[in-house]
Every structure is written in structure tokens, then in C-alpha cells.
């Protein structure tokens, strides 16, 4: 069953800034959707329109079939976790979690029961009488989640909930959020600028670029078949190698002189892409091209090699190669590489669409 529908939803701020032109999205019940994109692309704006904290300028938002545009945040049956947690500083953890239930006129003993259930689930039982300032960052984050969960809403909204935590805690909470969401089965809309977080959490991802949904799909869809160079560069770490190229009868011309044979009906300027992990080390006779090594990053489990495509002009494009295990090639030496054609991504340079 479709739970949340955004139909041509757009946002123009009162100062005239056109933050979101038009976004279409339909979310299934229980689905975990992640909105991802660089800072300033309109993720928070879109989420806040769903929450009712920003008005919807154009289009329609429906939750379980009901139009929400004119409804107050309280009447949308959603709960939100803010980046700074937005815990009420003068209230105890218990009161923070109970506040929404009290406002809805729930009986005291029922509130106590619900709060203690959720607190137990999140390991907050010992902290219920503390004030937020007596909690660590991770604990505050948990309380913010607890406050959202205790109301048992139709939809969870998260706005970069992990970005104030240190790296280790972030990974831990990421796993925990995913487990909790699975267990509760609550439809979730989650905003992040971190593509790793996005890939690991999402059932489906929405990649936003300047207020436009560039692509909507499962993490593997986006990894295997990015619709645009923007998505290709955004998903995956390190980023996909994207080179300006030309498609002719002979094939793809890269760095002005190197030709990779291919028969494809398209002609003209294209963007040719291949992920760093899809380049293979080869030898002079079987290789497609050579890379002049400029820098080596050894991470133990893998090695990232940065270099330039070797050409007669010396003006070759920069590329990154990702090899598993430790490697220690000499700087300035040549590395022969094979680029298997099944891993190529071709985009029209003008329309930016996948070919």
C-alpha cells in the first residue's frame, strides 16, 4: 500500500528563492527512503514540507490518501528527529518523551507505560529522570528517537540525525536505527548528505541536486546504473572516474588521443565513467591504457592510486584506481590498466542522461 505521496511538490521561499522546482515520489508502507545530496540541495526543505514546518508552494502531499497541504504538523501523524535533537532542556528525559502524549490528552498511567516500554527498548530506563544536559551526545540522540517512537506515528522523519556524533557512534547508531525501523515497520523518510549512510540505510534512495530528484532507486540500482554523471559521482567512494570523451565510429576517444573500441549509435561529446574498483592491473600488451602514478593512499585493506592517463601531450585526465590489499608502486612510474567494457558508464555530455 502506498503510504506517502509527493505529487509535483515545489517550494519557493518568501524571499523568492526557488528551492525545489518539482518532486514526485511515492513511498510504500514500511519503506525506508533516504533523501541524499550535497549541502544546500533542498533535502531539509523537502522533509520540512512533509512535516508541515514549511508550507508547500505547489503540488500536493498525501499521507494514506489524505491531502496534507493545509494540515498542522500535529495533525499529520508524523514524528521528527532533528539534527540538534531539539530536546526540551528544562524537562527530564521522561517529560521529553511524554510531552507529545500529554498534549494529546492521553491518560497518565498509559503514558507511563508507553514511555517505559520505549525507554527499555532504547536502553534509556536508567536515564529517565535526567535532564538533557546531563546526557552524552549518543544518549541525547537516543532520547530524540524515543520521543519520536513513543507516539507511534505513521511516518518517521529524520533530518541528519547522526551528523553531530563521532564516527564510531555514527556507525553504531546507523545499524541501530535500521534495526529499530525494521522492527517497528514505520514508514521513514531520512535526510543525509553522507552517501555511505544513505547506501546502508535505504530501501530506496532519492538523490537530490539543486532541488531536483536526479534519480530514485535502490542503492544497487544507483550504483550499477546511475542516471546522470551527478549521481555517478555522488554514489560510491571514492567517486567514479568521469572523463570528457568523444564517441565516434571507432569508439570512445579519451584524453584526446586514446581510443577504446566500441560500436554505439551515439555520436559526439559524452562523459565516460568507470569506478575505481572496476579498473584492473594488466600488462603492456593487454592493457587499454597506462596511468602515470602521482600519489598512493595505502589503507591496508585497500590501496587508492591517483594518477594521470599517459598521453603524448602529457595532458591526460586524472583517474583513481582502487586495488584490494597493500600495493606500493613507485610515484611517477607507469601502471598498465584494463577497463572492462561491462563496467563502462556513458552519459550524453549535453543532456547529462545515461546512454
Amino acid at each position: 500500500m502506498t503510504d506517502v505521496i509527493l505529487e509535483k511538490v515545489g517550494k519557493t521561499y518568501p524571499n523568492g528563492y526557488h528551492a525545489i522546482p518539482s518532486v514526485d515520489l511515492s513511498i510504500e508502507e514500511g519503506e525506508f527512503i533516504v533523501l541524499v545530496g550535497p549541502s544546500g540541495c533542498g533535502k531539509s526543505t523537502l522533509l520540512r514540507m512533509v512535516a508541515g514546518l514549511e508550507s508547500i508552494s505547489t503540488g500536493e502531499l498525501r499521507i494514506r490518501g489524505e491531502r496534507m497541504n493545509e494540515k498542522e504538523p500535529a495533525d499529520r501523524d508524523i514524528a521528527m528527529v532533528f539534527q540538534n535533537y531539539a530536546l526540551y532542556p528544562h524537562m527530564t528525559v521522561y517529560d521529553n518523551m511524554a510531552y507529545g502524549l500529554k498534549n494529546r490528552g492521553m491518560a497518565k498511567d498509559l503514558i507511563a507505560e508507553k514511555v517505559s516500554d520505549v525507554a527499555a527498548m532504547l536502553g534509556l530506563t536508567e536515564l529517565l529522570q535526567r535532564k538533557p544536559r546531563q546526557l552524552s551526545g549518543g544518549q541525547r540522540q537516543r532520547v530524540a528517537m524515543g520521543r519520536a517512537m513513543v507516539r507511534d506515528p505513521k511516518v518517521f522523519l529524520f533530518d541528519e540525525p547522526l551528523s553531530n556524533l563521532d564516527a564510531k557512534l555514527r556507525v553504531q547508531m546507523r545499524v541501530e536505527i535500521r534495526q529499530l525501523q525494521r522492527k517497528l515497520g514505520t514508514t521513514t523518510l531520512y535526510v543525509t548528505h553522507d552517501q555511505v549512510e544513505a547506501m546502508t540505510l535505504a530501501d530506496r534512495l532519492v538523490v537530490l541536486n539543486k532541488g531536483k530528484a536526479e534519480q530514485i532507486g535502490t542503492p544497487m540500482d544507483l550504483y550499477n546504473k546511475p542516471a546522470t554523471p551527478f549521481v555517478a559521482a555522488f554514489i560510491g567512494s571514492p567517486s567514479m572516474n568521469l572523463l570528457d570523451a568523444h564517441l565516434t565510429e571507432q569508439g570512445i576517444t579519451v584524453s584526446d588521443e586514446l581510443t577504446l573500441p566500441l560500436s554505439h549509435p551515439h555520436r559526439g561529446a559524452i562523459v565516460w565513467g568507470i569506478r575505481p574498483e572496476h579498473l584492473d592491473v594488466s600488462d603492456e600488451h593487454n592493457a587499454d591504457f597506462a596511468l602515470r602514478i602521482q600519489a598512493v593512499e595505502s589503507l591496508g585493506a585497500e590501496t587508492l592510486i591517483h594518477g594521470k592517463v599517459e598521453t603524448t601531450s602529457g595532458q591526460g585526465d586524472a583517474m583513481v584506481v582502487r586495488l584490494s590489499g597493500p600495493h606500493l608502486p613507485d610515484i611517477n612510474s607507469l601502471m598498465w590498466l584494463k577497463a572492462p567494457a561491462q563496467y563502462w558508464h556513458l552519459f550524453d555530455a549535453v543532456t547529462q542522461q545515461r546512454l
Binding site: G52, A74, H90, Y99, G100, N103, R147
Partner: protein, 292 residues
């Protein structure tokens, strides 16, 4: 960091003007008042007689003095509460205004620049029973306004005249306090189903409590000690004793009633109150309630 001066004398030289002013305008009169409080002077100021604590005994057995204490408390809390309530209301409104914000805020700050005596005269004219526009309007609305005869009306007048300029000051602090409340808290409360009214009373107002407490002390101190000019310009403490605050009584008994000993004893009591309020101010405001 410490600054060292080449000669030992220079710091003292630099401090001298301040020390002189303090000595001439504060320490010397204070010492005089303290001394005077233990003497009784004859009607012509020619001779005086040491009488120990008799001035204080007289003071605390005089029902008029207790009357004045009560008047001062009613007056001060009225000034503080009215001034802070109006300022808070204006600040909440200003916080919502987006266009013309600066003009609105500037207008509200102006009254603070008007001298207290001038403000007093202004209100005195507006409320004059025979020709003041507000008094005439009140009469047409069925209220028989005459603060020369009616003690409660006189009290209302001095409260209005004293509160008026404090509103600007309170407003600035409340506005700063409101702007320091994170927006996301209010948004979270909105999602949690709290009405705008409830959001204010359960989230915003508790978060303003350090500001509120600070302003309460400041306004009480103001109403206690800095409203002489306003009272003198509007009611002169009358009718009867109905607007005679403790500070006004010091002046009235000493310079109008010429009871210098009694007036000095009252000054000593006031000095005690000032000391106490200073302690409260430092104790509680310097480490005010902190929310992180």
C-alpha cells in the same frame, strides 16, 4: 594578563578622580547620614543632641513608616510585573514581525532615552484631572479621574509613569532572550501537538526564566530607588501618604518635614536594603540558571 606600571604612584593617580567622586558624593554623605541618625537636631539646626537609637525606635514604632513600606512593595511589584508583562508581550510580537522589524524595535527603545522627571511631567499633563486628554477621555467613559483626591488612582498614575520607560529596557532583554530560543524546539513542540499558547507557556517561558529573574531584580531595584523624580513630578507622594515610597519619605521627612534625624535613620535602613539587594544580585544573577 597583568599590566605593570613603571611607578607605583601612577595607578593611584589614574584612580583618583573616581575615588574623589565616590568620596564626595557617596562616602561622605553616607557617613553624615549614619552620624545624623544618632542625633536629634533642634528646629533651627543650631544645636544637636546625641540620642542613641531613639530615631530608629521612633521609626519602627511609627505606623506611617509601615504604611510606606507597604506602599513601596505594592508600587515596586506593580512596576516590575506590569513593565515586564507588557514588554514580554511586545517582544513576542516583535519576534514574529519580519518586515519593518528595525523600525518597530527602534520605536520601542526611544522611551528609555527620556529623562525620568520629564516622563513624569508628560504623564502628569496627560492625566491632569481638569485638562489632561487621558483624564478627560476617562471621564467621558464614566471614570471619575482625580489622582489628587483618590489614592488608588494616584498609585496607578505613578506606576504607569514609572513603568513606561522600563518597558524599553525589559523589551530589549526579552527580545534577545526569545531570539536565543532555538527554533527547532518550537517546531518539535508543534509536532508534539502543543498549541501556540501552550508552546509559549511550556517551552519558551521556562527557557526565558534566567532573563525573567534578572529583570525582576533590576526592575525592583529601579522601582525602589530610582523613581523619586517620577513621583515628585506627578503626585509628590500624595494624596496623603498614598504614593510615598521609602525613598520619597526620606526626602519628604528630611527636607519638607525637617526631621533630619528621622530622615537619616530611614537612609540607613535603605542603605541596608541596597546592600541586601546587591548581594542577591551577585549571588543569583552572576551564576544564573544555565541551560545548554
Amino acid at each position: 594578563m597583568t599590566v605593570t606600571f613603571p611607578q607605583k604612584g601612577l595607578p593611584w593617580l589614574l584612580l583618583l578622580p573616581q575615588l574623589l567622586i565616590t568620596a564626595i558624593f557617596f562616602l561622605w554623605p553616607a557617613e553624615q547620614a549614619l552620624e545624623q541618625a544618632f542625633y536629634q537636631e533642634d528646629a533651627f539646626g543650631l544645636s544637636r543632641e546625641f540620642i542613641g537609637l531613639e530615631n530608629f525606635a521612633d521609626l519602627f514604632s511609627n505606623p506611617l513608616y509601615y504604611q510606606s513600606i507597604l506602599t513601596t512593595l505594592v508600587f515596586s511589584f506593580s512596576v516590575a510585573i506590569v513593565g515586564m508583562s507588557v514588554a514580554l508581550l511586545l517582544a513576542v510580537m516583535a519576534d514574529r514581525v519580519i518586515r519593518g522589524k528595525l523600525a518597530y524595535q527602534t520605536l520601542l527603545i526611544w522611551p528609555y532615552a527620556v529623562a525620568p522627571a520629564l516622563a513624569g511631567v508628560l504623564w502628569w499633563i496627560l492625566f491632569d484631572p481638569s485638562m489632561g486628554p487621558i483624564a478627560l477621555w476617562l471621564k467621558s467613559a464614566g471614570v471619575d479621574w482625580n489622582h489628587y483626591l483618590d489614592g488608588s488612582q494616584a498609585m496607578i498614575l505613578v506606576v504607569i509613569a514609572s513603568t513606561w520607560k522600563q518597558i524599553s529596557y525589559n523589551f530589549l532583554f526579552f527580545l534577545a532572550g526569545l531570539q536565543a530560543v532555538p527554533r527547532s524546539l518550537i517546531e518539535a513542540a508543534a509536532i508534539d501537538g502543543a498549541s501556540p499558547f501552550k508552546r509559549f507557556w511550556t517551552i519558551v517561558f521556562p527557557l526565558l526564566s534566567p532573563t525573567t529573574f534578572f529583570l525582576l531584580v533590576v526592575n525592583l531595584v529601579y522601582a525602589f530607588f530610582e523613581t523619586f523624580g517620577v513621583i515628585d513630578a506627578t503626585t509628590k507622594g500624595g494624596p496623603g501618604q498614598s504614593t510615598t515610597t521609602l525613598v520619597y519619605k526620606v526626602f519628604d521627612d528630611g527636607f519638607v518635614g525637617l526631621d533630619l534625624g528621622g530622615s537619616a535613620a530611614q537612609s540607613v535602613v535603605l542603605m541596608g536594603i541596597v546592600g541586601l539587594m546587591t548581594v542577591i544580585q551577585f549571588r543569583f544573577i552572576e551564576r544564573k540558571v544555565q541551560y545548554s
